[in-house]
């Protein structure tokens, strides 16, 4: 196509997309209060209203409006159900199993729908609707956690001390899904290698193979040196695990939109693995450089050794922060761009419409950037782990 025809092609398509959004926004505007998440009253307040025999009306006077901070925190955090769509009052969601071990009473399993989104308690447990600072013990119980709760909604602290929560929450389910996906992909690639011995790779195999070779030749071998093969399974695992979870976190559809790598616990565990493997594989050279750096006089050594020990712990911690903050910040900015529509829609639907088109375009572009960032963060985590392994097994041969 000549350049002019190319530009015309793109402009026509953009115009079509613009008209589509313009027309679609009329549909949005026609629904009163659509997409505006009214803030949920505390469960006790609502129970009181129920008890008084009144209906909770979703009308404009009690309408708390759109609270972007709350919506964003709900999307970033973990949950006991898969929320597909719908507002707080009428959600469409799939409850997930709650698995609790109460010391002295054994395991209890039930669906989180028993909690009715935090309105009820069940079998002496409930979901905290607000952060609770105990006046007796001074301990803080965080919002959204399952605690031992009696009927009135107050925390039963003695019972709570023996409570261990093993529930399948949104993030746990997402981890299981990503693990199953990874196992399916990798076993099919491995089978393809066995079946097509000596032939050129085909299909999924030809997509995965360059990535595996990339991790081997550009990450592991330069960083670790000659005994890189020992660390390859771990490096490949964390690379693909982080990458696939980053991608899954960007898909808005229900079991996929879980913010796994942005949940601090997951990068902490991965960095813990890296730390343990580095420590277990450290040779004499490595330890000598940490505790008694050679070629350094004793007074300076008294300063250098604590710094080196701190560095040994700090390196995995920085890994955690880098991964978790990158992914979480990306999700928050995406959600902020999207909630701009509803925030402006509060003032008038016309303004909401006007903001909708650039907001969606920005969200789309930012999503593409987040895809790139997801891959880069997986690469950087793997590369730094490989570098730490390399430092642990280095053998200069001159000591």
């Amino acid at each position: 196509m000549t350049p002019n025809k190319y530009i015309g092609y793109i402009l026509t398509r953009l115009l079509m997309v613009g008209f589509f959004f313009f027309g679609g926004s009329f549909v949005l505007a026609a629904q009163e209060g659509h997409g505006e998440h009214a803030a949920q009253d505390s469960s006790l307040h609502e129970e009181a209203i129920h008890a008084a025999g009144q209906e909770i009306h979703h009308d404009y006077e009690t309408h708390k409006g759109f609270e972007p901070g709350k919506m964003i925190m709900e999307h970033i955090g973990d949950a006991y159900d898969l929320h597909f769509w719908g507002s707080h009052e009428h959600p469409v969601s799939m409850p997930l199993p709650v698995i609790i071990y109460q010391s002295g009473e054994g395991f209890k399993t039930f669906l989180s729908s028993r909690f009715h989104h935090g309105h009820d308690t069940y079998q002496g447990y409930g979901i905290l609707q607000e952060e609770y600072l105990s006046p007796v013990t001074g301990k803080t119980y965080f919002k959204g956690k399952i605690v031992a709760m009696n009927e009135q909604g107050s925390v039963n602290e003695e019972r709570n001390a023996g409570l261990y929560n093993f529930s399948i929450t949104k993030n746990a389910l997402a981890i299981f899904i990503s693990v199953i996906l990874l196992i399916l992909i990798m076993t099919s690639v491995a089978k393809a290698y066995k079946k097509r011995e000596g032939q050129a790779p085909k299909g999924l195999q030809s997509f995965i193979e360059p990535i595996i070779l990339f991790v081997r030749d550009d990450v592991a071998k330069p960083a670790i040196g000659k005994n890189y093969a020992k660390f390859m399974p771990y490096l490949l695992t964390i690379f693909f695990f982080i990458w696939i979870n980053n991608i899954m976190g960007l898909i808005p559809l229900a079991p996929f939109g879980a913010n796994v790598t942005g949940n601090v616990a997951v990068p902490i565990v991965l960095a813990l693995f890296t730390f343990v493997i580095t420590t277990m594989n450290g040779n004499g050279h490595y330890w000598r450089h940490i505790f008694a750096m050679p070629g350094v006089p004793l007074p300076v050594l008294l300063i250098v050794t604590p710094i080196e020990i701190m560095g040994m712990f700090l390196k995995p911690i920085v890994l955690v922060i880098r991964l978790f903050a990158n992914i979480t910040a990306g999700h928050i900015v995406l959600l902020v761009f999207f909630s701009l529509i509803f925030m402006f829609g509060e003032t008038s639907t016309g303004v909401g419409l006007g903001v909708a088109v650039p907001s969606v375009i920005f969200t789309l572009l930012l999503n593409l950037l987040e895809l790139l960032v997801g891959a880069i963060q997986a690469y950087v985590f793997t590369l730094l782990s490989a570098i730490y392994f390399g430092m642990a097994v280095v053998d200069d041969g001159h000591h």
Binding site: M73, D218, V318, I321, R322, F324, A325, N326, T328, A329, I376, Q377, Y379, V380, L383
Partner: protein
Amino acid sequence: MEFLTILLDPAIAKAGAVIGAGIAALGAGVGIGRIGGSALESIARQPEVKGDIASNMILAAALVEGAAFGALALGFIVGLA
């Protein structure tokens, strides 16, 4: 004393945290800008090694962002708690 009382106000603490996060973004911008600038210069000098330079640039940018995000995470924690 008045200054200290103002400073200990929780709202001021949140403002301080968010300003700190903003300064962290400034640091990230400067750092990555310099990395990008020197990468572009070296590509201009020797266009054949564009691939190598590009991947090293991305790596250095990710590391600089790690530091900036540490400060950002602190800003989040204080600002939201």
